[in-house]
């Protein structure tokens, strides 16, 4: 009897194991369902640096022993950008201190960013009473290398400060005073001592080194040789992250792949894209760019589709928070890239938190919050039939 049981067991086990490779291991999600991963064509040495940056970005969690804080917002890069996607209101940044363009005096203590958390035994910052502020939901970080590879000239080609073509759209760059460590590249253009910002909700960061160093410092309270001031005291302290780590992270951000559109051939997606252009969303959310030569070979001469012009636009009084950065007006916001928009719920806990501060809980709600230069497009959207609206939303979710 026992031997029969054992034989049955062996047969069952063998059958199970023979089928084991088919379905018992979880498949990788489709490439177009993921935001993380490197751009195609990296060399072996480049993949090694990418991996080092990946570990620093996604795996390194700072503690009080490794330099966290004492005042901070988040404990790691990955906690703000899960899966390299958009962040959750739980790690929203609060920016304050500048209430008019180019303001460099009367900046209150603690500016430009509120560190609203503290390690045990310390007290987090409080926003000065009555101080205007902006809240920034962390953006996705994919495809940034392609945007970083563009030339300032390319960005300026789309600027139209005085709306000379009378289309109601007047994109302007945000001119930023560069930090001391900024090293201009051949594609940067200095204008009156300042450079064009292209990263961040207000386009306040000129390049990814500035963006990364500032995030380490202001978000996690981590000092570096680039940003040596402790956010709690305003005094210099020893670097808490190495130059190499920061440069690895910058390389990682430069070489993250661009989001891949899903179902681009679907009829609804094609119709939605047509409507998107018809109601002139594409005037600011510029679909296509092509990179020039880059020091990273695989970034060179690439045509990509971020749906942004990297310029500031008047978004109307409803989106005027009374605070700003660089030369931007308080009501001006950089056109956010729309690529990866449909994957936002996969990094925002199953929900949408859109617009600069996550106030919109759906794509449609976000569209309806557009004002200023985008009011005409918003009104056109409202006039679409329900099926047309659905097609437009389907297109946006495919990005």
């Amino acid at each position: 009897m026992a031997s029969i049981k054992i034989q049955c067991l062996i047969v069952a086990s063998t059958g199970f194991l023979l089928n084991a490779c088919d379905g018992v291991f979880p498949d990788a999600p489709a490439e177009n369902e993921l935001l993380d991963g490197p751009i195609e064509g990296l060399s072996f040495p480049e993949q090694n640096v990418f991996l080092a940056g990946d570990v620093a970005f996604n795996d390194e969690v700072f503690t009080s022993e490794s330099g966290l804080g004492p005042l901070f917002v988040a404990t790691s890069c990955g906690s703000c950008h899960p899966g390299d996607g958009k962040g959750h209101p739980f790690t929203t940044l609060t920016r304050f201190g500048q209430t008019s363009p180019n303001q460099s005096t009367n900046v209150p203590k603690g500016a430009p960013q509120l560190q609203n958390k503290a390690i045990p035994g310390f007290v987090p910052e409080q926003l000065p009473a009555g101080m205007p502020f902006m809240k920034f939901t962390p953006p996705a970080v994919t495809g940034l290398g392609l945007l970083a590879a563009l030339t300032d000239e390319q960005i300026l080609e789309n600027a139209d400060p005085s709306d000379s073509d009378d289309d109601g759209i007047s994109g302007v760059p945000n001119f930023i005073n560069p930090p001391g460590y900024f090293q201009p590249q051949w594609f940067h253009r200095q204008i009156n001592g300042r450079f064009i910002g292209r990263f961040g909700k207000k386009a306040a960061a000129i390049d990814l080194l500035q963006q990364t160093s500032t995030a380490y410092n202001q978000d996690m309270g981590i000092t570096s040789t680039f940003e040596p001031l402790d956010v709690a005291t305003g005094l210099t302290i020893d670097p808490e992250v190495s130059d190499q780590t920061i440069r690895d992270v910058v390389f990682y951000l430069r070489t993250l792949k661009a989001p891949i559109q899903r179902d681009p051939e679907a009829a609804d997606v094609i119709q939605g894209q047509r409507l998107f252009n018809e109601i002139k969303c594409g005037s600011c959310h510029l679909s296509s760019w092509t990179t020039p030569e880059s020091d990273i070979t695989t970034l060179s001469n690439k045509t990509f589709h971020p749906y942004t012009d990297l310029l500031l636009h008047d978004m109307g009084p409803e989106l005027d928070d009374g605070a700003t950065e660089g030369s931007a007006e308080t009501y001006e916001w950089r056109t956010p890239p729309l690529w990866g928009l449909g994957l936002s719920p996969d990094s925002q806990g199953g929900e949408f938190f859109l617009m600069h501060d996550g106030r919109a809980k759906s794509i449609e709600e976000a569209i309806l919050m557009h004002g200023g230069e985008a009011a005409t497009s918003r009104d056109s959207f409202e006039k679409l039939s329900d099926p047309e609206k659905q097609m437009l939303l389907t297109f946006l979710k495919s990005l």
Binding site: K5, F25, V61, T75, P82, H88, P124
Partner: protein, 404 residues
């Protein structure tokens, strides 16, 4: 705060019950009435003549292959631990036992247990030295050869940081009546430190406290860890245990300077096991941890954790096999759940996740009760803090473990 007071009261109640010798009359010990607390002595030892010292140990080794969302690290072989026991009956009612563990080769070498037991009365035994805090059942009854699964339960290693040992003293005892045995344990030991909320896991992580090897030399703060457990067993039904441990985990004072408020950690566990159904063993444990995390710290560090596991082990064959008398083949399954952060986000009101679920079907062959060849399939769903799509990990593990 109320919940901590309630837990404290429960703890006191357990302690009071534990010291009440009139509840049960005395009766001789027996193997059928072994409790989890007896696991430390309920091990095979090698005796040599009249030599007063006995030695023993166990080893665990396994190979595994896992795939996580389509990506694999390939095949890997591990020796999670090799443990040596040394025991001695110094006098008739004075015993010593030690357990030294070598983890992952010699990556970690720990004295998990090294204690003297003075028996004054079956209900009153004084234990001192390095003890395993009796929280839940697994922490005391963790020997690899006893289990049908390659990995230890998640909740028993990441909420209860098994194996969790500390230096201290306490009392234990038990008493019998008819089919019943009842026991208690009560210890005061060194305890936790603030690494439980300042660690590179980025979550409240009680195992991080084990990095503090100074806890065998001095208490991290002035407050001792109190651990209380009571358990009752019926010969035919099974055993149920209730346990609690509580401590102030942070350094709130140094050199007379107040650095912070006192912040408490309380852990409550219930464990059970039963062999009431023929050929079927059911073993389970559930634990709740309550941690006073500063409200100004990150919400990613949970103020409450909970989790547990339940094992079903069914013996399908018990006979002479391949020349081994009393060999067994068992089928088993383990269900596991751990939530590292019970609560909701202040900003959105949505649930905080950071949880893990797993199902582990297994098969084992036991040439004897002290040795096992085991294989299991493990499928795990791990959800991040925000509740984004779970990372799915699955794979096979095949291992061996035996006392020696």
């Amino acid at each position: 705060m109320k919940i901590f007071i309630s837990i404290y009261k429960v703890g006191c109640l357990l302690f009071f019950i534990g010291l009440n010798p009139w509840l049960f009359a005395q009766e001789a010990d027996s193997l059928q009435l072994q409790l989890n607390m007896d696991a430390v002595y309920n091990r095979p030892f090698l005796y040599e003549g009249s030599f007063p010292v006995a030695v023993g140990g166990y080893i665990e080794a396994h190979g595994e292959y896992f795939v996580s969302d389509g990506i694999t690290e390939g095949v890997s072989f591990k020796i999670p631990r090799m443990t040596l026991f040394v025991s001695s009956t110094i006098l008739d009612r004075l015993k010593f036992l030690s357990e030294i563990e070598f983890e992952e080769g010699t990556k970690e070498i720990n004295i998990e247990f090294a204690a003297l037991d003075f028996e004054f009365h079956p209900l009153i035994n004084l234990r001192g030295g390095i003890i395993m805090n009796p929280i839940g059942a697994f922490n005391q009854n963790h020997d690899g050869p006893k289990w049908e699964f390659v990995d230890r339960p998640i909740s028993a290693t990441t909420i209860i940081p098994s194996t969790f040992s500390n230096v201290g003293f306490g009392l234990h005892g038990k008493t019998y009546q008819d089919q019943w045995v009842w026991a208690y344990e009560a210890y005061v030991t060194n305890g936790f430190d603030d690494k439980i909320i300042t660690n590179s896991e980025g979550r409240t992580w009680l195992p991080a406290t084990k990095e503090n090897t100074d806890r065998f030399e001095e208490n991290f703060n002035a407050v001792p860890l109190i651990t209380l457990k009571t358990a009752i067993r019926h010969r035919k039904i099974g055993e149920i245990g209730l346990s609690w441990m509580g401590d102030v985990y942070n350094k709130y004072e140094e050199d007379g300077l107040m650095l912070d408020e006192k912040r408490r950690l309380d852990v409550v566990a219930i464990d059970f096991n039963s062999s009431a159904i023929k050929n079927l063993d059911i073993i389970g444990e559930w634990v709740w941890a309550f941690i006073d995390v500063p409200t100004t710290y990150s919400q990613q560090f949970g103020t409450q954790q909970q989790g547990g596991f339940i094992d079903f082990v069914y013996t399908i064959v018990k006979s002479k096999m391949l020349g081994w008398e009393n060999a067994k083949v068992n089928l088993a399954v383990r269900l596991e759940h751990v939530d590292y952060n019970v609560g909701s986000f202040v900003e959105t009101g949505g649930s905080i996740h950071d949880d893990v679920q797993a199902i582990v079907p297994a098969i084992s062959f036991r040439p004897s009760s002290q040795s096992v060849i085991r294989a299991n399939y493990r499928y795990t769903w791990q959800t991040d803090l925000l509740g984004n799509p779970a990372v799915r990990t699955a794979g096979f593990q095949i291992g061996i473990s035996s006392y020696f």
